[in-house]
Symmetry: C2
């Protein structure tokens, strides 16, 4: 069996050495973004991240679903290019990819956030 070289090159090095796959800006697809935003829970996560304008730990999102479902939602958001997830030590931090989204689909994220805020106020739901 041939010796295998350890793969040391990482596309996105992170402080803890682990990294998660993210689409490059050019690979972000409108259909994927819209699908990611079409779930009420994921839309709420995005609204929270937009309000924060920084990184948030997964654990601060108090979602009424199981941990594995929460992980799934963050994964859909990450794989569609909506959020960036970075390990910092044992914490998985999340940030909205505002600049990337604005670059590929100008105005889209803001119009969705505005629509979500309008709907929330109309329905009398939180935030």
């Amino acid at each position: 069996m041939p010796a295998q070289k350890a793969r040391t090159a990482q596309k996105e090095p992170s402080p803890s050495g682990r990294s998660l796959a993210h689409p490059d800006r050019a690979d972000i697809r409108l259909e994927g973004v819209l699908h990611a935003l079409s779930d009420p829970m994921r839309l709420q996560i995005v609204r929270d991240l937009a309000a924060e304008e920084g990184e948030l730990n997964c654990s601060v999102f108090d979602l009424p679903v199981s941990k594995s479902t929460t992980t799934h939602h963050f994964r859909v958001l990450r794989e569609s290019g909506v959020v960036r997830q970075i390990y910092r030590g044992t914490a998985k931090m999340n940030a909205l990819r505002r600049d990337d989204l604005e670059a590929v689909f100008p105005g889209l994220l803001d119009s969705v956030l505005t629509a979500a805020a309008l709907q929330a106020s109309r329905l009398g739901t939180a935030s």
Copy 2:
């Protein structure tokens, strides 16, 4: 067996007497609209309708899928409040609910259409 009264009251009378269920403007939900638009084929239908600015018969959409799949896509678009479908004789006509969407989610449809056009030109795909 008790005699049943024929249901003559229709919410949305149409020229041919048949009608299809549509959500009222107030019942259109952002998540449903985003989901409807998150499918490449449905997004293309919406782009075609937007370009037409009028009614289009289902049959003019030359989609590379079966008739039943086409019917499904139009149904998702109708039930989410994105399009209005009206029978005219034997033809089922489709129109974008531009005014309704603009009233509930100002700017959303246009930003999606712009994003779709940008992506199509970037990817070198049709329209």
